[in-house]
């Protein structure tokens, strides 16, 4: 059985050394050098500990389940929150409430009242002395804050009582400013007025007094030690003086500036190189009269009676100033090398741009945008595209809205683009491009103009000059008009050029372009835009004319279109596209000469190496469509096919060769793989088919996989053709009746052309990985043509050509096989396998929510917080209510007690009185009895 509480307490107290024998002095000394105070503190803490130890109600272990073990968290060890002190917290809360809630309660239903804002009134910690000190400093500060620090008149002075401006202080007999005012007055009399503040007080003083002072100062009190007030005054006076001086200096500056201002107009006149008329007399006069710092010209204007004219003049002047050219340092004339370098840099930039487009990296920001919105789901997300992205070819879309399909195939393209590049760069370079082209255009145009004035154009490389040359060669028709209306439609254009010879057409176009140069008039830009559209139409129209216009004219027209396209790319492209559309809708498999010319023009005007181009892509698609879908049935068909095949190859070469050659010369140090070299299956199919059906003998086994169409009427070369065959003429594309000899000649020419096509195609696609598969059948066909079955019919030139081509093919085929290696396309970084194993947390807490969904986690956290807060608030409110109830009860009790006291007092009083009265009565009675 443990000892009783009391015994334990005693034992503990003794152990702590609080009771029982006090330690001897020696020990105490040894134990600590600490003072008595130190010991006292020790004692109190010890007592506190003991008290806590023996009061089991002071501390509670917190609720069950709150106990934490080390396995779950480290918090257990800190001991925080292990023990609760309900007593302490309760009393704290109570105290808090007393300070806030109770006060509120007491102030309830009370209006107004005085709030004591004095210092320290409610602060019991302050001693009365401290309180007073504090009040004093506050008051001082307040005054200081209110008084203007920068007042010339010192606040102190103003506070002083004066009589007629004389201080009523008594510390010195004559409290007069000992500052010599006279100096100031001497400096500048006029300024007195401006310095009103200072003089106002002075004026109040009598002049006599002032004078008297002057005399007094020096003589009477030379050695007297100055009082503090005097020193202060001196200092103040000095500062005032300095201030005044500063003001003076400023005024002087102002004056000087005004003087200079007056001379400014003259200077301006000089600067403008005498543009201005010399200031008119009224100007000068007014300048004199006014005398103010106003600009004389402006003043004159204000004076001049004719207000309207002044306005006008002002406007004019303003405009002049706006248009005034800032002088710039002139650029140094560049040396030849520098020029070449610059040109090279420009070309290099262009080339880089082109290459980027070729790789399909040009992200037309807009296009992307439009694609994504066009098809809600867009190509923006991996998930979203699962259905649509590849669907590119929007089959479903096509089915739904028949015919006109909005294929999202290029969304596909865009999708890749999104990954690959930044649009900013391209935009920037784009603008650069346009600037460049603008410059080009200007230069070229001017050149054209210059040439126009000259009688004979020199051999410049620019388009217009060459166009000019066309004219000059034949000599422009002197009767040709010099001015034309700017045709807005093709009809108007036809009207305009009616009666103009073919050869004068370029001249007409040039004159129109000169007349309506956009810089000459506002509306010219729109006019030329329309005109360029009409010009494209006219190009097609010309090519379809029965009397074939010379290609020189067509060519120079194309050049005109090209140079217009640099300025108005949109209109020209639209015109070309509408032509392509009409081909597509009306005659996909029967192109006319006009279509061929237009296609050629497209091939030369637009960069054909672009991965995607709004004009070139449909153009090449239409060409391929013809080649792929229309089996040749006549010689003219074959000629068309050959022409389109040539065009295709040329287009797929990547860029117009002679442009590229010009560029190569300057940029050959850049090791670019420059040309796109796109593959067109249709060309090979067509060419091989054509050779098979033209061949003098029939192939027993058609090699390769190209579709072979035997025409209804045989087109085989059946007559021997001797001699040399010249190349195909453009107009062979038209169906025509030919005598037999001519026919075989044409056939031979066709064979030769197609063989040449194979040749150039082989050259073009030489590096491709499947070169062998593509050209092996071609090689077989060529061998067959060179074989003895066909040999005898072919002209010698053709035979030679075939031999050369097949040799070349053989070489290339061998090379292709040599360079062939297994594909290794997937050197990608291996993708991480998507894992579903949860992430391992180092310090995992089961109470915490590791929600991968950020939003949900956020919401959860908020909800928990809300719950906690709500609980807390409820608890607080409950406690408040308890407190209020308790307080009310206490008040009531107090009141009751008071009442009781009062009642008792009253009763006692009455009783006392009654007792007294009774005694009186008894006494009276006794007296009366006694009397009786």
């Amino acid at each position: 059985m443990p000892p009783s509480q009391l015994k334990r307490l005693k034992a503990t107290l003794r152990a702590e050394g609080i009771t029982g024998a006090q330690p001897s002095k020696k020990i105490r000394k040894k134990a600590g050098n600490g003072t008595g105070n130190d010991r006292r503190v020790q004692r109190t803490t010890a007592l506190q500990n003991i008290r806590e130890q023996f009061n089991p109600f002071e501390v509670t272990a917190l609720g069950r389940g709150r106990e934490k073990f080390q396995v779950t968290t480290n918090k257990t060890l800190s001991g925080r929150g292990l023990k609760g002190r309900p007593g302490v917290t309760k009393s704290l809360g109570e105290e808090n409430r007393k300070n806030t809630l109770l006060l509120e309660m007491q102030r309830r239903k009370k209006v107004g009242g005085i709030i004591d804002r004095r210092f320290g009134e409610n602060d019991p910690t302050m001693t009365p002395e401290e309180r007073m000190l504090e009040r004093f400093t506050k008051e001082k500060q307040k005054r200081y804050r209110n008084g203007a620090v920068f007042d010339l008149e010192d606040g102190e002075e103003e506070d002083q009582l004066t009589h007629f401006g004389q201080t009523l202080s008594f510390d010195n007999g004559k409290a007069i400013d000992d500052f010599e005012e006279g100096d100031l007055e001497l400096l500048d009399e006029d300024d007195r007025s401006s310095d009103g503040g200072l003089n106002k007080r002075k004026r109040g003083q009598s002049p006599g007094l002032e004078n008297g002072n002057d005399g007094d100062d020096g003589n009477e009190l030379p050695e007297r030690k100055k009082s503090k007030a005097e020193v202060m005054k001196e200092v103040i006076a000095k500062s005032k003086f300095h201030k005044f001086e500063r003001q003076q200096a400023r005024d002087a500056d102002e004056e000087l500036r005004e003087d200079l201002d007056k001379e400014l107009p003259n200077l301006l006149g000089l600067l403008r190189g005498g543009n201005l008329p010399p200031p008119s007399i009224p100007d000068l006069m007014s300048a004199k009269v006014d005398g103010s710092g106003m600009n004389p010209a402006r003043a004159a204007m204000m004076i001049s009676t004719d207000k309207a004219q002044a306005d006008k003049q002002y406007d004019m002047r303003l405009r002049e100033m706006a248009l005034d050219r800032r002088s710039k340092p002139t650029e140094r004339t560049k040396t030849e090398e520098e020029k070449a370098e610059e040109e090279a840099r420009r070309l290099q930039e262009l080339e880089e741009e082109r290459l980027r487009r070729m790789r399909g990296e040009v992200s037309d920001g807009e296009e992307e945008l439009d694609a994504t919105e066009g098809n809600g789901i867009g190509g923006d997300d991996e998930e979203a595209d699962v259905e649509n992205f590849g669907l590119g070819p929007g089959i479903s879309g096509w089915k739904q809205q028949k015919g006109l399909d909005i294929e999202d195939e290029d969304e596909f393209v865009i999708d890749d683009d999104l990954v690959a590049n930044d649009s900013d760069g391209s935009v920037e370079t784009e603008s650069e491009m346009s600037v460049l082209s603008e410059d080009d255009e200007d230069r070229e145009f001017l050149e054209g103009l210059a040439l126009d004035h000259e009688a004979n154009g020199g051999g410049s490389r620019s388009a217009i000059s060459s166009a000019k040359r066309t004219g000059s060669e034949d000599g422009p028709n002197p009767t040709l008009a010099y001015t034309f209306p700017c045709p807005q439609t093709h009809k108007e254009l036809l009207e305009t050029v009616k009666g103009v010879a073919f050869k004068d057409l370029p001249t007409v176009v040039r004159r129109i372009r000169t007349l309506y140069h956009p810089k000459l008039h506002n509306g010219n830009k729109e006019k030329l835009e329309q005109f360029s559209t009409a010009l494209v139409e006219h190009l097609a129209y010309l090519a379809d004319q029965p009397d074939h216009p010379p290609f020189l004219i067509l060519e120079s027209l194309i050049r005109h279109v090209h140079s217009l396209a640099k300025t108005y790319p949109e209109n020209i492209s639209r015109a070309f596209r509408s032509h392509l559309k009409s081909i597509h809708e009306n005659r996909p498999l029967a192109p006319t000469a006009a279509d061929l010319v237009i296609l050629t023009a497209i091939g030369s005007i637009f960069p054909t190496s672009d991965h995607f181009h709004k004009v070139v892509t449909p153009a090449i698609l239409s060409m391929a469509r013809y080649l792929g879908q229309s089996p040749p049935t006549s010689l003219s068909d074959l000629a068309v096919g050959a022409y389109l095949g040539t065009m295709c190859l040329q287009v797929c070469f990547g860029c117009f060769p002679d442009v590229s050659c010009a560029r190569l010369m300057l940029t050959d140090y850049l090791q670019y793989q420059r040309l796109s070299k796109r593959y067109v299956p249709e060309v090979m199919n067509y060419v091989l088919n054509a050779l098979c059906i033209l061949a003098p003998a029939r192939l027993r086994v058609v090699p390769g996989n190209f579709p072979y169409h035997e025409p209804a009427s045989p087109l085989r070369l059946q007559n021997a053709v001797a001699g040399h065959v010249h190349c195909l003429r453009f107009w062979d594309i038209l169906p025509q009746e030919l005598p037999d000899g001519e026919k075989s000649r044409l056939k031979a020419a066709l064979i030769e052309t197609h063989v040449t096509l194979i040749d150039s195609a082989a050259e073009l696609w030489a590096g491709k990985s499947a070169f062998y598969e593509v050209f092996e059948p071609a090689f077989k066909v060529l061998q067959f043509l060179a074989g003895k079955e066909c040999r005898k019919w072919l002209p010698s030139g053709t035979k030679e050509k075939i031999g050369m081509t097949s040799e070349k093919l053989q070489r290339l085929l061998k090379q292709a096989r040599l360079s062939r290696r297994p594909l290794a396309l997937h050197y990608h970084r291996p993708l991480a396998i998507r894992t579903s194993i949860p992430k391992f947390e180092d310090s995992y807490n089961p109470d915490k929510h590791y929600d991968p969904d950020r939003e949900r986690a956020e919401v959860g956290r908020l909800r928990a917080e809300y719950k906690r807060e709500r609980k807390g608030a409820l608890r607080e409110l409950r406690k408040d209510a308890n407190f209020i109830a308790r307080e009310l009860l206490r008040e009531k009790k107090e009141k009751d007690q008071e009442y009781e006291k009062k009642y008792k007092r009253l009763v006692a009083e009455i009783q006392g009185e009654e007792g007294h009265e009774r005694k009186e009565y008894e006494r009276e009675k006794r007296l009366r009895r006694g009397k009786r």
């Binding site: 492209s573 879908q629 117009f656 199919n685 990985s769």
Partner: protein, 540 residues
């Protein structure tokens, strides 16, 4: 005893013939009409005037095809016979007098004559054809529904088969045939089943060569435009000429199916032309196979077609697929056949998308040997070298899907040579494609040790979208699969349409320098780098 609907129909018919007659209106005609009417009314009045029938027959047999009289006479004769049939005037009653029997026999002979007249009218391609058909079918109906007396009532099979024969053997009478199908065969269940049975009979009995072609094509068109058999027993409720007591025999779907099957099979046995076969193949899975009791019987036909090659095999494939899928048909060497079908024409064929749909299904299994799948991939990629863009667009995602499904085949796009000596050995040596293009067995082509150089080449295709699509093969294979359906239906037209329908958003780039030579050029001297056009063409 009269059918209540008869008078109204009769009037209608009279109206119909009216305008016809008035077309060639003359006084004579009017007289003739009234005479015919008179004769008819006399016949109906009394048996005494039965001889008028002969007169009317004579008129209706008239030579002039445009003659309105002829039609009028036929119509009135029809009325007469219908009435006779209805009131039993043409039945031999037992125990009747000889004279009576004579009359009946005579009447029956005339009836025969009459039907022959109508049949010849049906043969002739003129306006009266439709009328003749209507009249004949009317007779069929009345004959089927004539009052029962002694002998059993039956569907007038004999008459109907004669009609059918005429219709089917006719050279160029599509109107009557269409009408027959539209108004009778598709509308009445009994007519349909009898048609099938009769077609079978006719087809088996053999025809002279000159009629055969017409017969085949007519039969094909009749059969193909005939509706599918009724879905359930309860739907068989429309009868034309079958008497009520016999109807129960017809109300079985199997019977219908059996007849249809017989008819089709009989048709298959006749020498079908290529086009006809194609038509049939197109119908097989939708129309023919469902109405077969034993679809297996189609197998021979399908196999023959499949072996035919070309587009025929493509078409046969869908029928075969139906059988494989529905009837669990085991087709030996199927994949080999399928592989052979991948020839040069497939990428240019009109049935390309159809074929690829099926091909996708056939190769959907992941249990196929990799060598076989590789062969398909390689062959198609080889073919796509010569294909139009629309074809390439189909092939590439399909290859992607297959590669994804058969990871073993990815060696075709990525093969590293690990052994050092091997790569040493390869250096400076010719490498041939291990793939054997002409091998017919897909397991033996060794395609799996080849590489898809063709697809790599197509990455430089002229059409930007195709090129980009081809690039998926060399990108990382992150996508699960492409929906091949999206890529199937394309053509030059749709691609062009798509390109041209997009509006220009921002000004297209223009070549910055104007080339010196477009057609001819100014410097006459030829330069190495002249454009091809300038080099190869003469612009004068």
């Amino acid at each position: 005893m009269l059918d209540p609907s008869t008078p109204s129909k009769k009037r209608k018919r009279g109206d119909n013939t009216g305008p016809c007659k008035l077309d060639s209106k003359t006084a004579d005609d009017n007289n003739a009409q009234s005479r015919i009417l008179q004769l008819e009314s006399q016949i109906l009045e009394s048996r005494r005037y039965y001889n008028n029938i002969a007169t009317l027959l004579l008129i209706s047999r008239g030579d002039d095809p445009q003659n309105g009289e002829k039609v009028a006479a036929a119509v009135s004769l029809c009325r007469v016979f219908c009435r006779l049939l209805a009131n039993g005037g043409m039945l031999v009653t037992t125990g009747a007098a000889d004279a009576e029997a004579m009359v009946v026999r005579w009447l029956n002979e005339r009836y025969d004559d009459y039907s022959k007249v109508l049949l010849t009218m049906l043969k002739e391609p003129n306006i009266s054809q439709g009328t003749a058909l209507t009249l004949l079918m009317r007779l069929v109906k009345d004959e089927g529904n004539r009052p029962k007396a002694g002998q059993e009532r039956l569907f007038p099979r004999k008459l109907y088969s004669r009609i059918l024969r005429v219709v089917l053997e006719a050279q160029c009478t599509s109107e009557a045939r269409e009408e027959l199908v539209r108004k009778y065969i598709n509308r009445y269940d009994d007519i349909r089943i009898h048609t099938m049975a009769i077609i079978y009979e006719l087809a088996t009995e053999g025809h002279p060569l000159e009629v055969l072609q017409a017969f085949i094509s007519n039969t094909l068109s009749v059969l193909s435009s005939t509706q599918v058999t009724p879905p359930s027993k309860d739907d068989i409720d429309k009868f034309y000429a079958t008497p009520t007591e016999n109807r129960s025999q017809l109300s079985s779907i199997t019977a219908y199916k059996k007849q249809a099957q017989q008819a089709w099979l009989a048709l298959f046995k006749l020498g079908l032309s290529k086009e006809q076969r194609k038509i049939i193949l197109g119908l097989i899975s939708s129309k023919i196979a469902p109405c077969f009791v034993k679809p297996e019987l189609l197998m021979d036909f399908l196999t023959d077609s499949l072996n035919f090659g070309g587009s025929m095999s493509l078409l046969a494939l869908s029928g075969l697929f139906y059988l494989i899928q529905e009837k669990n048909l085991d087709y030996p060497m199927f994949y080999q056949k399928l592989y052979i079908m991948l020839d040069a024409s497939i990428m240019h064929s009109r049935h390309r998308s159809r074929f690829f749909r099926l091909l996708d299904t056939f190769l959907a299994s992941t249990h196929l040997p990799a060598a076989l799948v590789a062969s398909f991939i390689k062959k198609l990629s080889r073919l796509s070298l010569q294909a139009p863009p629309a074809g390439i667009v189909v092939v590439v995602p399909w290859i992607y899907n297959l590669l994804k499904r058969h990871p073993t085949c990815t060696f075709m796009i990525h093969r590293e040579i690990h052994e050092k000596d091997r790569s040493e050995q390869l250096r400076g040596e010719v490498m041939n494609d291990p793939f054997d293009f002409d091998e017919e067995d897909p397991v033996k082509t060794d395609a799996i040790s080849s590489s898809l150089w063709e697809i790599q080449m197509l990455q430089a295709h002229y059409h930007p979208n195709v090129a980009t699509l081809a690039r998926i093969i060399s990108e990382q294979f992150t996508k699960h699969s492409y929906n091949t359906e999206d890529f199937l239906d394309h053509s030059y037209a749709t691609m062009l349409d798509m390109e041209l329908s997009k509006d220009i958003k921002k000004p297209p780039v223009v070549e910055s320098e104007i080339p010196e030579k477009i057609f001819t050029g100014y410097c006459k001297e030829a330069v190495q780098d002249d454009p091809l056009i300038v080099k190869m063409w003469d612009f004068t």
